[in-house]
């Protein structure tokens, strides 16, 4: 009997329990019906057994239920169908009754367990569906929050930059020569730089920077890094070495130029006016290396990596500046899968190295 476990899998603990419960149930019911036999007749017992099988089928597995069906048929035959205490059946009607009982008991057991299995499957399916929906919902929420974040950034950017643009245009209208207007203009430029830095660090930190790689001419990158800084770099002769016969590199030229531009701006602030800034370019072992060397005081001992942290400012640095420029440079370089480092040069001054693994192509 115990080998009828489903799919010949080893019996589980709960199934063993169900078998014994089924056995006990039949025993109890058989005893009760036996006691009542004088009042009820043998067919009452058959109906009680059927009822037990249906109820068991709604709760238990198929094996124990089919065991109960078989057992109750045999017990009914043995105890209740005359002649009692034998498996022999005397009258042809009782044979028919026995066969009918056997068939009905088996099919009831089978049907009710099937019904339950289907219900279970349905519930499982429902559960899976709910999980799937929940996951989809989570993903949608995430995308939505990312979109919202970007929209917010765009609108904050618009709100902050518009007044600066208006001041700029209005100052242009005032014309040159007014020293007060010149002060406003200087302050406005500073404000613009701060606003742009704050927006950029927000973008970098929220992974909103999406590099768009294409073949770039390194000369173009150097040009777009230095061109917006003409005012700042005015006091520093900038020399560029090694930019001849360089291959094309596959990168996002705009982001790289921005990273380099911040380093140059930093050098122009910290190095005394009039000292040269040297930029050298090389492609070494499949990586583009941009080195910016200044002749300023250099990086304070022990802060070579801390200077790339947000809001970190050298202890003796002049007022103004947000401590964001180099942090942005590092964020951008990392977004491009490169990195940035700083070191002091033996002859004095700091050297910043922007390193970027790149695909190259001879130009």
């Amino acid at each position: 009997m115990k080998t009828t476990g489903r799919n010949k899998q080893p019996l589980t603990v709960s199934e063993v329990g169900e078998y014994s419960w089924g056995f006990t149930l039949i025993f109890v019911l058989a005893s009760a019906c036996w006691a009542l036999l004088p009042y009820t007749g043998p067919h009452f017992a058959a109906l009680v057994f059927l009822l037990a099988i249906v109820i068991a089928g709604l709760r238990w597995n198929r094996g124990p239920v089919l065991m109960m069906a078989t057992m109750s048929a045999l017990v009914w035959n043995f105890l209740f169908i005359p002649p009692q205490w034998t498996l022999h059946i005397a009258s042809p009607q009782d044979v028919v009754m026995f066969v009918l009982f056997f068939v009905v008991a088996l099919s009831m057991g089978h049907l009710t367990t099937c019904l339950r299995a289907r219900e279970d499957a349905l519930q499982r399916h429902h559960h899976e569906r709910e999980q799937l929906l929940a996951e989809k919902h989570r993903a949608e929420l995430l995308a939505e929050s990312e979109r919202l974040h970007r929209t917010l950034l765009d609108s904050v950017s618009h709100e902050l930059k518009t007044p600066i643009a208006i001041i700029r245009t209005a100052l242009d209208g005032l014309g040159e020569g007014n020293p007060f207007a010149a002060e406003i203009e200087t302050a406005n430029r500073r404000l613009q730089r701060i606003v742009e830095n704050f927006l950029e660090i927000t973008r970098v930190e929220s992974d909103a920077v999406r590099p768009h790689s294409e073949w770039c001419e390194i000369g173009d990158v150097l040009h777009s890094a230095t061109a917006p800084l003409q005012r700042e770099l005015g006091g520093h002769p900038v020399t560029i070495n090694g930019n001849e016969n360089l291959p094309l590199v596959m990168t996002d030229g705009r982001l790289l130029a921005q990273a380099l531009g911040n380093v140059l701006h930093n050098a122009s602030i910290y190095a005394p006016s009039g000292t040269p800034i040297e930029v050298s370019v090389a492609v070494v072992d499949g990586a583009l290396e941009l080195r910016v060397r200044d002749h300023g005081p250099g990086v304070a001992e022990g802060t070579e990596s801390r200077i790339f942290e947000k809001f970190f400012r050298a202890p003796d640095s002049a007022a103004g500046g947000t401590g964001l420029g180099l942090a942005i440079s590092r964020g951008l370089m990392r977004a491009l899968h490169g990195d940035i480092a700083a070191q002091n040069q033996p002859g004095g001054g700091a050297e910043f190295i922007l390193r970027l693994p790149v695909k190259t192509r001879l130009a």
Partner: protein, 223 residues
């Protein structure tokens, strides 16, 4: 007198631009919304349009698309956004150039002048940019008195840049025109040819300026 239409939702920006443009002899009309801007454009028939990309409601890109359905008036994009892809989209939809806020008045006026000049009529087969002249009839280019030796691709490239002198041309626009009908990715070839052209134009010739992520602009030497 040129008529200019300003489509920008910022009142102050409109007022300032109006002052700047009127002082330069422009007749100015303005609109604070895209839909009204389109009506103004069809009513006043401006010679140049200044279009803000960040309009509420109907965005600048949509305004540009609809305007280009019936008009090829020169359009200058005003933008505070620095996302290059939006600028490229606007340029490829037919905008003529862009300035990024905050911009200097002189930069704005120079761009306006250039894009208004673009309606060049081909009465002369000669395109001149500074000391560069291109003879379309004889397929020749020269720098001052010196003839330039150019390959056919370089000539086509230089011709396109010179015809749009002072104006931005997107990479795709160049590739579509110069490498018409070739399917392969030509962005690398474009870089290489630009490189060669720069060498041939030398120090004295016009400069080919790259706008990263957008395209190229041919500027007279010293600009």
């Amino acid at each position: 007198m040129s008529k200019a239409l300003i489509i920008d939702d910022e009142t102050q920006m409109r007022r300032l631009l109006r002052m700047v443009l009127e002082s330069r002899g422009y007749e100015v009309c303005e609109a604070a919304e895209g839909q009204i801007g389109l009506q103004e454009a069809s009513f006043h028939r401006p010679d140049v349009v200044l279009l803000d990309l960040g309009l509420p409601g109907m965005g600048g890109i949509e305004v540009l698309k609809r305007m280009r359905e019936w008009s090829d008036v020169p359009v200058l994009i005003l933008s505070v956004r620095d996302q290059e892809s939006i600028k490229v989209e606007a340029l490829e939809l037919g905008a003529d150039d862009f300035v990024t806020k905050p911009f200097g008045t002189s930069e704005l006026l120079a761009r306006l002048a250039v894009i208004q000049r673009r309606r060049f009529t081909r009465q002369s087969p000669l395109v001149v940019v500074g000391n560069l002249s291109i003879d379309l009839l004889h397929h020749e280019a020269s720098l001052g008195e010196q003839a330039l030796k150019l390959t056919p691709t370089e000539f086509a490239l230089l011709k396109m840049l010179a015809e749009h002198a002072g104006r931005i041309v997107t990479q795709n626009q160049i590739i579509r025109q110069v490498w018409a009908g070739q399917n392969s990715d030509q962005s690398e070839g474009l870089r290489v040819h630009i490189n060669h052209l720069r060498k041939k134009l030398g120090e004295s010739g016009p400069k080919i300026i790259n706008e990263p992520g957008i395209g190229y602009r041919l500027a007279e030497a010293g600009e």
